[in-house]
Symmetry: C2
Subunit: 118 residues, 2 copies
Amino acid sequence: MPLIDLLPSDAPLLPFAAGKVIFAQGDPGDVMYVVVEGQAQIMIDGKMLETVRSGGILGEMALIDAGPRSATAIAKTQCVLVPIDEKRFADLVGRRPEFALHVMRVLANRLRRMDAEH
Amino acid sequence: MPLIDLLPSDAPLLPFAAGKVIFAQGDPGDVMYVVVEGQAQIMIDGKMLETVRSGGILGEMALIDAGPRSATAIAKTQCVLVPIDEKRFADLVGRRPEFALHVMRVLANRLRRMDAEH
């Protein structure tokens, strides 16, 4: 099931103009985002890491381990995001195992790509 | 709750002698392990990455994305592992959100350490 279909129907929609910073590496953060429309760019130390498209997630690291933002996210195009705060995240993980598996797959995929770069 | 307490009471226990290879990078793999006793060493391309101790997990990557083993795991000391196959994994993720969160934290922690090395 696409991630977007797992979101609560009353989930807020946040629009970002192209070029706008969604969050910045090193900042505190306690919300992740699902991309509903458009594309976001993930960067670490100024290096392009990945483009997240519709159905993808960003900002999940700070939510999982309560650490600072591990990367910067910028709206690559005009985009619409659904924020998922700690309460919604805990609720989704508890009630929708496919959401938890999706987040795990995203993390595993990033780890494999980083391994390959080593 | 410690991860070990989430395991089913009928979970099998696998002993490994010190120095024994638990799994090898590049191999197919469809089971992860929880370390119940002892320590395991994780290596990528011959480089020591991390020591996993009692309560920790290894081998979760191949289970999450059905890819080959991303690392080699070797028993650093005599150790006892509980294998978790796909069925048990899906069951744990579905019934124990804290298990899913634990796996996510392990992956997030590894990602942060790899980011820091870049």
